[in-house]
């Protein structure tokens, strides 16, 4: 059961029950839809990019605890970052949840993202953890629909 405790940490449960940055963003200038056809999870991401930085970001949609918490944590982690920085954080995050990297050294400034490291023990849940990130990438590349299929 220790893997389960590792997966459903307090931080994850907290962000699942009380997601941050939830809702629509009326002055968003980038948006994208994401869905995971496997389980029916879907979310819409609203992003306001100013001078190459993420000035504000919100999401709405429904999904499992992992995808909801991941979306919530992501919005906190990327706010104020440049588009380039976001790309780099996603690369590291992806390596973290797929178990390709230890990740600890990468995430000093994003402690909270480390809460999702437990996903690496659950390969079928990687798509849940990365749905919001794929959707963000889609939004920054001009919008549309991202799927994790």
């Amino acid at each position: 059961m220790s893997d389960l405790r590792e997966l459903y940490q307090e931080v994850i449960l907290d962000h699942n029950h009380r997601p941050r940055n939830q809702g629509e963003l009326p002055d968003a200038n980038a948006r994208a839809e994401g869905h995971n056809p496997l389980c029916g999870d879907q979310l819409t991401l609203f992003v306001k990019v100013e001078d190459g930085r993420i000035a504000d970001i919100r999401f709405k949609g429904c999904g499992c605890a992992i995808s909801t918490a991941s979306a919530s944590l992501m919005t906190e982690a990327v706010k104020g970052k440049t588009v380039e920085e976001v790309r780099e954080i996603f690369r590291r995050f992806h390596a973290l949840v797929t178990g390709e990297a230890e990740g600890q050294e990468f995430f000093d400034e994003f402690d909270s993202l480390m809460a999702l490291a437990g996903v690496k023990e659950f390969p079928v849940r990687v798509k849940c953890a990365t749905l919001a990130w794929h959707t963000l990438q889609q939004a920054l590349e001009g919008g549309g629909v991202a799927t994790t299929e």
Partner: protein, 413 residues
């Protein structure tokens, strides 16, 4: 052992015949409750397939040698076994295919070739994507339209609304017998009778009914009936389509190739009679052999006994799950459905439920069950589904209930 007044099923002896059931998963005894997705296979089936490859393997319908004759005989016998299983008039009414999905594609393609703009196909809100998408593709090609018969809040078909959709424009009614997502048993006889009154053809997706109900296509009065072998304790990649012979005879081919022709020349080809017309290429001979063995196995256990046992498990699950706080069961009450319990747990997404149960050795399905329109109708993104087979036990139902307590604990509910 569960003993009813007239029904006795020795589940311990039965389980011993399924090698996959006797294993630990995540350090816990496996409770396999995902039988609507696929069933485990008894020794008898596994050995029949192995024996075929070890002893009788050859191509069918073309060799003069001994092995080919044996393979042909086994393949033809398998067809006869399936025909008897479904209550068909003769073996030639059975087409071997990969499964229900291929059967629906075959029908949407061949029946679909006659559709005209404005013709209507009636489906139900319960349908699996495999009985939606092929018809949508046929409509795109022909300009025909799909009408959807609604369900009531309890997950049963609204028969009056269904009848209201039928008209002289209705060409095909294609409907599932048992819902994979809710377990609902559709009143196929009434559905077929009403469809025939307006001159429509009746296609039934029997993927979920074949493992649980005794099927007699003539008694049901249907024109086409499909099922998949792997859900009836047989191999994957094999299934069968029943079609009334005179209807099959009138259909154009689906795929072209060897075995489906009478004579080929570059100036034109004449097609073989059914069922060969619909079985282009070397068929899944080993699959057919395994399926026939699975049918023999199911008949030996007895479909009535299987049904009674699964009903008891379903009832037990309903009773036990009623005590789980925040849990809602979707669909009809036990007795009015096959062994499927589809549920939601407030505050827990089905995907999380699935993961946490898996860590306790309990295998269920979480998701939209390839029935997204139905999920929308129920107002849920997905459900968790436990589905029973002949070999499940009351103890496994208890494992599910204990597992759900763990789900609530882990998720802090």
């Amino acid at each position: 052992m569960l003993v009813d007044s007239e029904v006795v099923l020795d589940v311990t002896a039965l389980r011993a015949q399924f090698p996959a059931l006797a294993q630990q998963v995540r350090g816990k005894p496996l409770a396999y409750l995902d039988n609507a997705a696929t069933t485990q296979k008894p020794h008898q089936v596994i050995e029949a397939v192995a024996r075929y490859y070890q002893r009788d393997n050859a191509n069918v319908h073309r060799g003069v040698h001994e092995l080919s004759q044996r393979a042909t005989r086994l393949y033809d016998e398998a067809r006869a076994t399936v025909a008897e299983f479904l209550g068909a008039s003769r073996p030639e009414e059975i087409v071997f295919l990969r499964g229900c999905t291929e059967a629906m594609n075959l029908l949407a393609h061949t029946l679909g070739s006659r559709l005209k703009p404005g013709d209507e196909i009636v489906l139900s809100e319960l349908e699996h994507h495999s009985n939606i998408v092929p018809w949508q593709m046929a409509c795109e090609r022909t300009g025909a339209v799909i009408r959807v018969a609604p369900i009531r809040d309890d997950g049963t078909l609204d028969l009056d609304a269904y009848r209201g959709l039928l008209s002289e424009r209705t060409r095909v009614v294609s409907i599932l017998h048992v819902s994979n997502a809710l377990g609902t048993i559709n009143p196929v006889r009434s559905i077929a009778a009403a469809a025939h009154e307006v001159g429509a053809l009746v296609v039934v997706d029997g993927a979920q009914s074949a493992p649980h109900l005794r099927i007699d296509v003539r008694e049901l009065g249907v024109d086409f009936y499909a099922f998949s072998g792997h859900k009836v304790y047989g191999p994957t990649g094999i299934g069968a389509l029943y079609g009334r012979y005179e209807l099959l005879e009138g259909l154009p081919p689906f795929q072209g190739g060897g075995d489906m022709i009478a004579r080929v020349s570059y100036s034109g080809t004449t097609y073989a009679k059914p069922p060969a017309r619909f079985e282009a290429g070397t068929p899944n001979i080993a699959g057919a052999v395994g399926l026939a063995e699975a049918i023999r196995f199911v008949r030996e256990v007895g479909l009535e006994r299987i049904r009674a046992w699964e009903d008891r498990l379903t009832e037990l699950a309903h009773q036990a799950l009623a005590d789980v706080p925040g849990l809602t069961i979707h669909g009809p009450k036990p007795g009015a459905k096959a062994g499927v319990v589809s549920f939601s747990l407030r505050g827990a997404h089905p995907h999380d439920i699935g993961t946490i149960l898996d860590m306790q050795g309990v295998a269920i399905r979480a998701g939209h069950h390839c029935a997204q329109p139905l999920m929308e109708r129920l107002g849920v993104p997905a459900t968790a589904r436990a589905s029973f087979g002949m070999y499940n036990t009351p103890e496994e139902v208890q494992s599910l209930v204990r597992g759900l307590a763990e789900v609530r604990r882990v998720l802090g509910l």
